[in-house]
């Protein structure tokens, strides 16, 4: 069953310089209980996707059109009041930078209990117990002591554990993790990724990993959605995507150095597209080595090319026919 269905979602930012098309028609589904990887570079629209689903797109951004169905219910038709029952409670979010997403003026105990008392009819002492239990779940050592401390007294890795606990306080069914390890060292990253994997198994929630690191995706996710310039390039099972990738995914994989081998790095020419003036047709065509004239024409639709694998590329079949 699909827990989340996103259809032709368009989220634009109306700036003075012009309309920034952060998401320009994104479509994907999310199976309940799995881990989905939302992969893309900066400006590809990964974070805006999570913001759109929670309807917390910052101004001057607006969801222009499209459909977001969470458990079959239309998120975009909900009132602000009804959204309060979704944010944090059914859908939760972990931010990239744990330092700036915790309030420096309150102890972590008080800022986490506030969330519980706001949403649930619970006494403060009960709420505090629940907070301690959740912090234990996120493997924070000695939570009974640590709740009286302030965010600056924790290291980056510990802060991210606190943020993970905060996201889990109200038992959400869907958790977006927005680059949760980008600011952390590799050994701490390994700790956090292991924690997320364990938690998903223990709690049984659906996890969306937003990342630019193909390694993390390969390690954590079952399904992948590849975004580029606000468009979905491909979606599919992780193995299929690595086997028969979209030209963009293929180029990205060839351009990233690998720890387990030395290879020639094939760089992608040019830069990520300007979201105000997106290239015509396929957004990747100016940097694509397979691009032909037809790529400049119409935007290629996202088509299911094989079971569990959809691609937005007019040349993919031809390129993969020989294989």
């Amino acid at each position: 069953m699909h827990i989340l269905e996103v259809e032709n979602l368009k989220t634009y930012f109306f700036t003075e310089a012009g309309i920034v098309k952060a998401l320009d028609g994104a479509t994907f589904n999310l199976e309940k209980g799995t881990t989905l990887g939302l992969v893309g570079e900066s400006g590809s629209g990964k974070s805006v996707t999570s913001q759109s689903v929670l309807r917390i797109v910052p101004k001057p951004g607006k969801i222009v059109s499209g459909k977001i169905l969470f458990e079959g219910e239309d998120i975009l038709a909900k009132s602000e009041n009804e959204m309060r029952n979704y944010r944090g409670k059914k859908i939760s979010l972990i931010f990239q930078d744990p330092t700036s997403s915790l309030n420096p003026l309150f102890t972590i105990g008080s800022q986490l209990t506030e969330i519980v008392t706001q949403h649930e009819k619970m006494k403060k002492t009960e709420a505090l117990e629940h907070v301690i239990k959740t912090l234990k779940l996120a493997r924070l050592p000695d939570p009974e002591e640590e709740i009286y401390r302030y965010p600056h007294q924790f290291s980056g890795g510990m802060k991210q554990r606190i943020c993970i606990a905060r996201a889990l306080l109200l038992n959400p069914q869907l958790l977006f993790a927005d680059e949760p390890t980008t600011n952390l060292d590799v050994t701490i990253q390994a700790q956090i990724l292991t924690l997320l994997k364990d938690l998903q198994r223990e709690v049984g929630m659906t996890l969306v990993m937003i990342t630019h690191d193909m390694g993390i995706v390969a390690d954590m996710c079952k399904y992948v959605v590849v975004l580029y310039g606000g468009n979905v390039m491909e979606t599919g099972m992780i193995e299929t995507i690595f086997e028969k990738p979209h030209p963009y995914t293929e180029a990205l994989l060839k351009a990233v150095p690998r720890l387990d081998q030395t290879k020639e790095l094939v760089s992608i020419p040019g830069n990520i597209p300007n979201l105000i003036e997106l290239p015509s047709g396929c957004v990747f065509h100016p940097r694509c080595r397979y691009a032909v004239d037809a790529c400049k024409g119409n935007k290629p639709p996202l088509e299911e090319v094989e079971a569990d694998h959809s691609i937005a590329c007019i040349r993919w079949r031809e390129l993969n026919g020989g294989r």
């Binding site: 060292d185 050994t187 292991t194 690191d213 390969a218 351009a255 990233v256 690998r258 387990d260 030395t262």
Partner: protein
């Protein structure tokens, strides 16, 4: 042949003061870099990896004397760097500075926003007077094409460029004085994934064409493997292991190196990772652990590890490791 850059026993401690304005007392030392020795040969790239706060950047700055070391020596082509740069004549200082340059991590903050690219790249000419004024323009366009920029870019300001292009400008600026050695401090970590390969390829290409030696500082092991001939692994101010790249990545010996490598996710769904999870976090460099600095997080640690400082042992012609029990891991 003598190495181009020879670093011997480099130490940098930063004092930690007690609170107070009038009565500031030194209450401790941050052991940023502790007895680091390394060599960079002509035309080779040496990678320096470690996690944040382990002293990689400080090491790079100490080599160029952008920070004054507490003790230790740096030789460049046989000449003592620190002595020359502190006590030498202006001529000598400039001459040495011309041979060693640096490329910084963040191209958004290392370019003056009020200078055009022309001014930025030609500033080294004006300081060093290494070429006559009439040749500025030609040399500048030559540099621009060398790093893959167009001549018309010269009149633009840094904010008009993307991250990758800015890093190209930074590299062109470093090349303006024909250096023999460049310290590249995380040159790609603030760039987009699809642009990183461009800059890494540029760095390697420049080495082939101009024979420049690099000290490549990074926390990203994959890019270090790609670019370096030899790799040094740093932990809490000390070098724990060094070897030729292929040797280090195929046969890491130090438990820290092993854990570090196992933690890097590999973009291949068929390879299941076997992560060696290190408990806890990097301890504070103010009071580093006694004995082997890695012992509180090491699963093989014994009482010997907390008492005795391990010595750097040579286990192969070019493989050094500092661990009491290296024989167990051979």
């Amino acid at each position: 042949m003598e190495p181009l850059v020879d670093v011997k026993d480099l130490v940098k401690y930063y004092p930690v003061y007690s609170r107070g304005i009038l009565t500031r007392k030194v209450i401790g030392q941050v052991h940023a870099v502790d007895h680091v020795s390394l060599e960079v040969n002509h035309g080779e790239t040496v990678g320096l990896v470690g996690e944040s706060g382990c002293g990689k950047t400080t090491t790079g700055k100490l080599i160029l004397n952008l920070e004054t070391p507490t003790s230790g020596k740096v030789y460049f082509d046989g000449a003592p760097v620190i002595q020359t740069l502190t006590k030498g004549t202006k001529e000598e200082k400039l001459k040495l500075r011309r041979s060693m340059q640096m490329v910084f991590q963040n191209p958004y903050s290392s370019l003056d926003p009020r200078m055009t690219v022309f001014d930025i790249i030609s500033e080294p000419f004006r300081v060093h007077k290494n070429i006559p004024t009439s040749e500025y323009k030609d040399r500048l366009y030559e540099l621009l094409s060398l790093v893959g920029l167009e001549p018309y870019h010269a009149e633009r300001y840094p904010h008009e460029f993307s991250g990758g292009q800015r890093q190209r400008i930074c590299i062109a600026r470093a090349l303006a004085v024909d250096p023999k050695f460049i310290v590249a401090d995380e040159p790609v970590s603030s760039l987009d994934v699809s642009v990183r390969a461009q800059i890494l390829n540029l760095i390697m290409d420049l080495q082939k064409r101009l024979g420049i030696s690099y000290l490549y500082i990074s926390h990203d092991l994959s890019s270090v493997r790609q670019i370096s001939k030899r790799v040094l692994v740093m932990y809490l101010g000390e070098i724990v292991e060094s070897a030729l790249t292929s040797e280090l990545f195929d046969h890491p010996i130090h438990p820290y190196t092993k854990a570090l490598m196992s933690a890097v996710p590999i973009p291949d769904p068929k390879r299941k990772m076997k992560i060696i999870l290190l408990p806890g976090e990097v301890p504070s460099p103010v009071n580093p652990p006694s004995g082997c600095r890695f012992h509180p997080r090491c699963e093989y640690a014994t009482s010997k590890c907390s008492e005795e400082i391990p010595e750097m042992v040579q286990i192969d012609s070019d493989h050094f490791v500092s661990c009491h029990y290296f024989e167990k891991f051979l």
